[in-house]
Every structure is written in C-alpha cells, then in structure tokens.
Symmetry: C2
Subunit: 298 residues, 2 copies
C-alpha cells in the first residue's frame, strides 16, 4: 500500500479548528482553499497564511474539511457534495453520533464522508488560537461507517498525518460518551462554578488561588459554539451532569447531617477522586512529548 | 507606633503550611522552634532548615503558630496556653467560625489569640511543597475578636509581614463563606469529577485535554486533611454544593427536554459563567506580581 498523497484541500469554516488544520496543511505543502460565510473570518485566516479564498474555478479538492459548529456540518456536507467540491469529506465537530445519523438520513454520499474529530489542546477563546501545531501528537478520532471504502479512509488518514496527529477509530456513540465525560460535562461544570463570581466583590475574588482559576478557565470560552456542542450530545452530557449532581447532593447531605462521621464519609469520595486524578495523570504520561510533561509543543 | 519585632516563634505542626511559615521566619532571622507529634515530620522540617526542635527549656515564644488540621487547633491552643508556650497565638487553619467559637467556649485566653488563615498557592500534595515564599504577596486573613488587644494584633501583623503576605481582616463567617465558594466547594467538585476516571481505560483517558487535567488536579490532594476542612465548614460548603447540584440538574433537564431551545437556554448559563470567569481573572490582575501573571514567585 502506498501512502495517499494529499495535494489539495478545501477547509470550510475558518474558526480555530479549521484555520489550524489549514495552517498545518499549508505548512506541509498542500494547496489549501478556504471558505467561510463570515468574510472577516476568511480574511483573517488568509492573513495568517492558512490558504487562499476558494473560487468556483478550483477543481475538486483532495479532501474537504468541514470545520463548522456541529449543527451546521450535515447541511454544509450535503451542499458541498452536491456541488462536487471534493473527492473525500470529513469534519472536525466535537460530537459524532447525531451527525453520522443525520448524514445518512439526509442522503449524503457516505462513501466519500469520513466523520472525524481532532482533539486539540485547551481552547483559547477566539480565532487567535489557530496554530499549525494545534493537533501535533494529539488524538484525531475517526468514526468511519461500516461501508466507508479504503480510499476514503486513506485520504482522511493522510490529513491526520499531515497535521501530526494520531488516528484513533471509535464508534460514534463511544466517542460521544467519552467526550461527555472528558470535555462536555466538565465544561458545563466549570461554567456553573464560575456563574457565582460575576457578582462577587473583586476584593474577595482576590482570595482565589490558581486551582480555582484553572478549574473555571474553560468557562471563558465563547458560549454559543458550546451551547451547540452540548445540545448535540445531550443524552451523554445529561448523564454526566445528573451523576455529578447526585454526588454533590449526597456530599452536601453528609455535611449537613453527618456530624462526626462526615470527615470519614467525605474521605471516601475524596479518595476515589484522588485515584481518578492519578489515573488521568498516568494516561497523560503515556502520551507523546507534546503534552506529556509541560504542555509545550515539541 | 513602632513596628513590632518578632525575635522568637514556635510553630506547632510541620505540614506544608507550618513548615513554610517556619522557613519564612527563619529566613527573616527569627529564632524558630518546631513541634510535631510525628517525629518524622519534625525531622524533615528541621532538615529543611525550618528551625530547631522545641525543648522545654525555651522561654515563651513571641508568637505560637498552630498549623494543625482545623479539628485539632483549639485543643492545641488550649494546651499551649496552659503550658505558657508563647505570648501571642495564631493558627493557619482554613476554617474559622467553628474554631473561633470553640476557643471561646473552651475558655482559651482570647486576649492572646488571633485566629488566622494564610492563603497559599496551589497545594502540592505532601510536605515537599513547603516553601519560604509560599505566602509572598498572598492574602493572610485575620479574624480578630472584638476584644483582641492591639499588641496581639501587632504581633500577628508582624508575622504576616515577615512572611511577605498581605493582611486582610474578615469576620469568621465571611471568611468561611468565601472559602466555601472559592476553595472548599470547588475542591469537592474536582474530586467528584475525578471519581469516574479511576476505572476508565487508559486509552480513553488519553483523549483528555489540559483543561480537564487542570480542573481535577486539586483532587490529587491528601483526602484526610480535606475531609477535616470540609466538615469544619459544613454549612457553607453544603450550600455551595446544593446550588451547583441544582444548576447541573437543571442543565441536564434542559438537555433532555429542551430540544431546539437547549442551545439558547444553555448559552445563558454559559454566558454567566463567562462573566464570572472574567471577573475572577480581573481580580487576579489586581494582585501582586507573585501570581499576577505567571504564578511564579517574585
């Protein structure tokens, strides 16, 4: 098997993810065209050197990367396939099960579509975080259909390779449950934690330590794309939130009623948390140098 | 008014807080004696250069710093005062209302006791985090009684000054509510978030990003002292947990039932979170160089 060579790409959606993919591809010598319904987003991506604005005269791209919010992916995919903009299509949305099902229901050409989700480092708000190294050494999930042909998978794998990422194939519902546990649920928890501080006095907030700032930092992200992502992964996220709410409610009851036994009962929860935190750090150690120790890029 | 000069100190409890205070005082030229019921903890603090082991021949110390878990503070204070170990007493416990009330009920000498709580950077687990600069530029809360005499307050203020911290006087119940909001509640949330990961597969945990690791890092702390702190601030912490549980339960319900309106309803919560996160960052900007930008010590 020879490695698939990717010479041209079209990136639709010049947010952080799309622009980062485009920067990585351009840096790898791919001829990248860009599309965004927001002319300013497009202009900024072009100015960053991510590629050139798409024109109708371009031949179909080797791969079309749909980097829109989840709720727009299937519409964009359907239109792009109807117009014949590329040979193979993928997306970068953070939810997969609804998108995979909708693409099938809408009658998209599933042979040429490989649903995907590149996992990046922490999202800095805004497009300024676009970065050719955003996906280096990070997992890039693919959720191929059973019927996805080898040539489409190889093209998607070539994209992942050019971005320096690690391919990981998952079933869509597995991806979404994991994303709810590791990202979507915790994001909403950070937001809920932070709501209280909007009206707090600056003097008292000055007593906060780095641990709290680290915990609520994700809440600084743009609310709109997150609302879209969460609603697109509603069931798994709701499960995570309900489970956490139950744990917190029980802990509160222990605190209110437990008296002398409260430290012991809380220590059980805290010890489980300590083990979970250790497991998370252990998993990190097994990863590539990019984020294994310092979070620095290699 | 001349600045109170502190020439001698006794630090009881050679955990992270006590050893850090002792290191700062020793570094400032104070003659520091150390006490700990755990001979190994005492030996480690001495080996770090925090001071010398206390002996009964020492004259009463200028200040006695009680750096035990919250549940032990009043016992230790009462014994230390009975034995005449110092002129002024303070403590470093992270809860204040119960301690202040118990010290009064137990008949401690309130004229010589100034309840305190130095706020440090993020706790690294274990004693290795002891550091003379731990409190530099950080707030150090005092909760004086109405009857606390000026000389006792001045001695406590001298201690704070020698540790490079900023004095902030608060009522005990205000301190405890703020601590529940900024530290104790979020700590339990981090633990609850992390519990799930103890049994997760390493491959899937490898999909976690820095945001999640940052959020659950506090869960890595030793469960026992935290159980004690939480139980000592039970009411305010339970209030924080119940409120958060309510927010998460409502968000889960919106996700399960909200259908098309879910993104909008969630965006309201997310936007409040964004404002709270911004307020927290703004409060940080107003702080001293130690943690204003990088978290590095100055």
């Amino acid at each position: 098997m020879t490695a698939t060579t990717l010479r041209t790409a079209l990136v639709i959606g010049c947010g952080t993810a799309g622009t980062s993919v485009a920067l990585a591809l351009t840096g790898a010598g791919v001829d990248v065209a860009l599309l965004d319904e927001d002319p300013q987003a497009l202009a900024e991506a072009v100015a960053l050197g991510a590629g050139t604005g798409w024109t109708p005269r371009r031949p179909p791209a080797g791969i079309v990367v749909i980097a829109t919010p989840p709720s727009a992916v299937v519409d964009v995919l359907h239109q792009a396939q109807s117009r014949g903009l590329g040979h193979v299509y993928t997306d970068t949305a953070g939810t997969k099960e609804i998108i995979c099902a909708e693409a099938e229901l809408r009658g998209c050409d599933l042979k040429g579509y490989v649903p995907g989700h590149p996992l990046a480092g922490p999202d800095a708000p805004g497009r300024a975080a676009a970065d050719a190294g955003r996906f280096t050494g990070r997992p890039w999930v693919l959720c191929p259909y059973e019927t996805t042909p080898g040539w489409a998978l190889e093209t998607a794998a070539a994209l992942i390779g050019l971005c320096g990422a690690r391919r990981l194939d998952l079933e869509p519902h597995v991806h979404d449950r994991v994303a709810a546990e590791l990202s979507h649920g915790p994001h909403l928890v950070a937001a809920a934690l932070a709501t209280r501080f909007a009206r707090s006095s600056t003097a008292l907030l000055g007593l906060a330590d780095d641990a709290l700032r680290d915990a609520v930092r994700p809440a600084g992200g743009d609310p709109w794309p997150w609302g879209d992502v969460l609603a697109h992964n509603a069931g798994p996220v709701a499960d995570v939130l309900d489970r956490l709410a139950g744990q917190l409610t029980r802990a509160a009851a222990v605190l209110r009623e437990g008296a002398g036994s409260a430290p012991l009962e809380l220590a059980v929860l805290l010890e489980q948390g300590r083990q979970g935190q250790a497991a998370l750090e252990e998993a990190r150690e097994l990863r590539t140098p990019r984020d294994a120790r310092t979070g620095d890029r290699v």
